[in-house]
Symmetry: C2
Subunit: 172 residues, 2 copies
């Protein structure tokens, strides 16, 4: 399984690192894409390497999408390239996971209308405005979509995301 992680400078460090390590623990590959190829820096100072710029991404080469939070999603939600990537994953019902501010990207890509989701409490109104049915719980699942509120939800979030990926891997 190959997972595409979409981010930019200002990501929430634990929301990028912990799920990335968890996915790798399962033997899944994780490619990081950012506005430009190369180093991307988190709010707390962790640095990761993006191996793809947005224009190099071929969505069909990946099995799932992951959108960590932090300050990155506020910038990325207006990117037409990112919106196209998200729409491509959703069209094929491939698993998509987003946490904290990450669901803002789903909202602006227009894939939340009429769907259950959660996010960081400060941006709940934004996802509701995009048509989401907001729930204030650690993890929400709606079809191919897994969303959570904040770093403390990571245990619930990754349990569901990994489980969804394993089902997809088995062709269920």
């Amino acid at each position: 399984m190959k997972v595409l992680l979409v981010t930019a400078d200002g990501f929430e460090d634990s929301e990028l690192l912990c799920p990335m390590y968890r996915l790798k623990e399962e033997g899944f590959e994780v490619d990081i894409t950012a506005p430009e190829w190369g180093q991307v820096k988190g709010k707390k100072g962790y640095v990761v390497s993006a191996n793809l710029s947005f224009d190099e991404v071929e969505p069909s080469a990946f099995d799932a999408l992951y959108l960590p939070g932090g300050k990155a999603p506020d910038k990325l939600k207006y990117s037409a390239e990112v919106q196209k990537i998200v729409q491509a994953f959703d069209r094929d019902k491939r698993p998509m996971a987003a946490i904290c501010h990450g669901p803002l990207i789903l909202a602006k890509a227009g894939v939340l209308s009429g769907r259950k989701a959660t996010c960081y409490w400060r941006v709940a109104e934004d996802i509701k405005a995009a048509g989401a049915i907001y729930e204030n719980v650690p993890v929400v699942i709606d079809g191919n979509l897994v969303t959570s509120r904040e770093p403390a939800d990571i245990p619930f979030f990754m349990k569901e995301f990994v489980s969804m990926l394993k089902r997809a891997q088995q062709g269920e």
Copy 2:
């Protein structure tokens, strides 16, 4: 299963957070102990809450021990209270995991003699001096002991630590 996480100010943030979230994902409880009860701060600025001071720890109340790295282990390795805690876990062969600088605590507690282990490369000589058989690989298992070198090893580390805990839970 209850896991005791031993740390102090200056912990390596991802080495505390990612394994903690991973253990919670499995439904395991994680108690954090530090020199004093209350807030403990990582190198990168993450804050966690220690619910036990070292003198309040009753090792027999826990099924496993976890020692993250960072600057904390360099201070903690000289703590007689921490050394006693480690020795209690090792005496009963309960699972113990340590990463990066964490194995320094095992070294000073005298539980590494003649055992295979790994750690951050800069402190490899320290664990060898304590009698460890050092191996420069992502994860090393020796009986009840799991050790790794650095944050990038977390996927390998947690796979083995979680697997060991599940076996212990089943009474194997």
